[in-house]
């Protein structure tokens, strides 16, 4: 019985996390919620008597996939910053020419 209640709670958390990723506006938040989703999933694998999957999901789903998402987001911010720098540089160049 205790197992059933725990499982139901986890499944509820799973759906909550899935909906939260779908509606979240900020990408960083979405990625963190997705990592939480993967962790909940790995506990559910344990409850369903598949420890192999639990270990793999924790290492791959929550670990490596999360890191990849984070790095991709980081690269994207980097491009933004480059473009902003470039704009600033161009503007200052124009100003100098103007003077």
């Amino acid at each position: 019985m205790l197992r059933e209640i725990f499982l139901l709670l986890l499944l509820g958390g799973l759906i909550f996390c899935a909906i939260a990723t779908a509606v979240s506006k900020r990408l960083m938040k979405m990625i963190i919620v997705y990592m939480a989703y993967s962790l909940i999933m790995s506990v559910i694998w344990l409850l369903l008597e598949s420890p192999d999957l639990g270990i793999t999901e924790a290492a791959v789903g929550a670990g490596v996939t999360g890191v990849l998402f984070y790095l991709a987001l980081r690269r994207i911010h980097q491009f933004d910053k480059d473009a902003a720098d470039q704009d600033a540089q161009n503007n200052s160049g124009k100003d100098e020419q103007g003077e």
């Binding site: 598949s50 192999d52 270990i55 890191v67 990849l68 790095l71 991709a72 910053k81 480059d82 902003a84």
Partner: protein
């Protein structure tokens, strides 16, 4: 003077007249989009039209998804009940895997015995899915140096709002303690794949995360000095070739009813289960190198 249709046609054939010129005349001047750092100011040709097609797409999407979910929910209620021992999925296949798996494959962990011995062809394909992914990521991400529009390379700067872990003392100190433990745990999971939960994929992923943590905290240059591109390539080459050759030997002997020289050993010992242990190690190396090179390519576009 108006030409007749046939005159037009013959002129068109000679290349002096073009029916399609009308369409090319009316091409609107190219619109240059301006990048303002935050928002893109796109002067849409027909914003109304785009909004309409977007709305239509959204409505169709939602309808399609709702119908699919409804159909699936309607279908699964007539699936066999969850957790019942009388289900069709509980059949002679499962019985043999569990009851005779230990004698036939030498693996105590039935899942490891199943994926690396009974259904090894799937798993061979799966390792090559990873290999394909490594190739594709290398093609896309290799040497994407940050360059200014005129082609001069830009240095790597950390964007604001993102922590650089190699300068963070807390992360550094904690990681110094953690990395050896993660590493040992990864090796344990890898080598005990046939005895306990785990195996090549999970062990390799854990080892890969240890490497990723190492290069995050101590800097990519230091990591690349130890785990160079050459080393990674050699390890992937040797592991995957070993995997393919070993498994094809086992397929060949099995299909031709020949005697295989690989013995199953005594189940439960660390050196047992025939090919499963070496295959787990090979898969573990491949997965570890894959995860590490994913990280390096995403982080800086090269391993070296």
């Amino acid at each position: 003077m108006k030409k007749t249709f046939w005159q037009k046609l013959s002129a068109w054939h000679k290349g002096e007249f073009d029916f399609t010129l009308k369409t090319t005349d009316h091409v609107d001047p190219p619109i240059i989009h301006e990048y303002t750092g935050k928002e893109h100011t796109i002067q849409a040709l027909s914003r109304k039209e785009r909004a309409f097609s977007g709305a239509l797409y959204n409505v169709l999407c939602v309808l399609f998804c709702l119908i699919l979910i409804g159909v699936l929910l309607g279908a699964v209620v007539s699936l066999p009940p969850h957790g019942n021992a009388e289900n069709p999925a509980v059949n002679e296949v499962m019985d043999r895997y569990v009851e005779e798996g230990m004698q036939e494959t030498g693996a105590v962990n039935t899942v490891a015995g199943m994926i690396l011995d009974y259904r090894a062809f799937d798993t061979l394909g799966e390792s090559f899915v990873l290999f394909t992914a490594v190739c594709a990521v290398t093609i896309l991400m290799k040497n994407t140096k940050r360059t200014a529009p005129d082609g001069t390379p830009l240095p790597m700067v950390v964007a604001p709002g993102i922590v650089d872990y190699s300068k963070d003392n807390i992360v550094k100190t904690v990681s110094r303690f953690l990395i050896p433990f993660i590493f040992v745990f990864g090796v344990y999971v890898l080598l005990n794949g046939h005895l306990s939960p785990g195996g090549g994929f999970s062990g390799g992923a854990i080892l890969g995360s240890a490497l990723i943590l190492f290069s995050m905290v101590y800097g990519e240059d230091r990591a690349a000095a130890i785990f160079s591109e050459r080393l990674i390539k050699t390890v992937v080459l040797v592991s995957l070739s070993f995997y393919a050759i070993a498994k094809s030997y086992s397929f060949f002997t099995g299909a031709n009813h020949l005697h295989s020289i690989i013995s199953q050993g005594i189940p439960g010992r660390i050196l047992s289960a025939g090919l499963i242990l070496p295959l787990n190690v090979a898969v573990g190396f491949v997965v570890c190198c894959t995860m590490y090179s994913f990280y390096m390519y995403f982080r800086r576009g090269r391993i070296q």
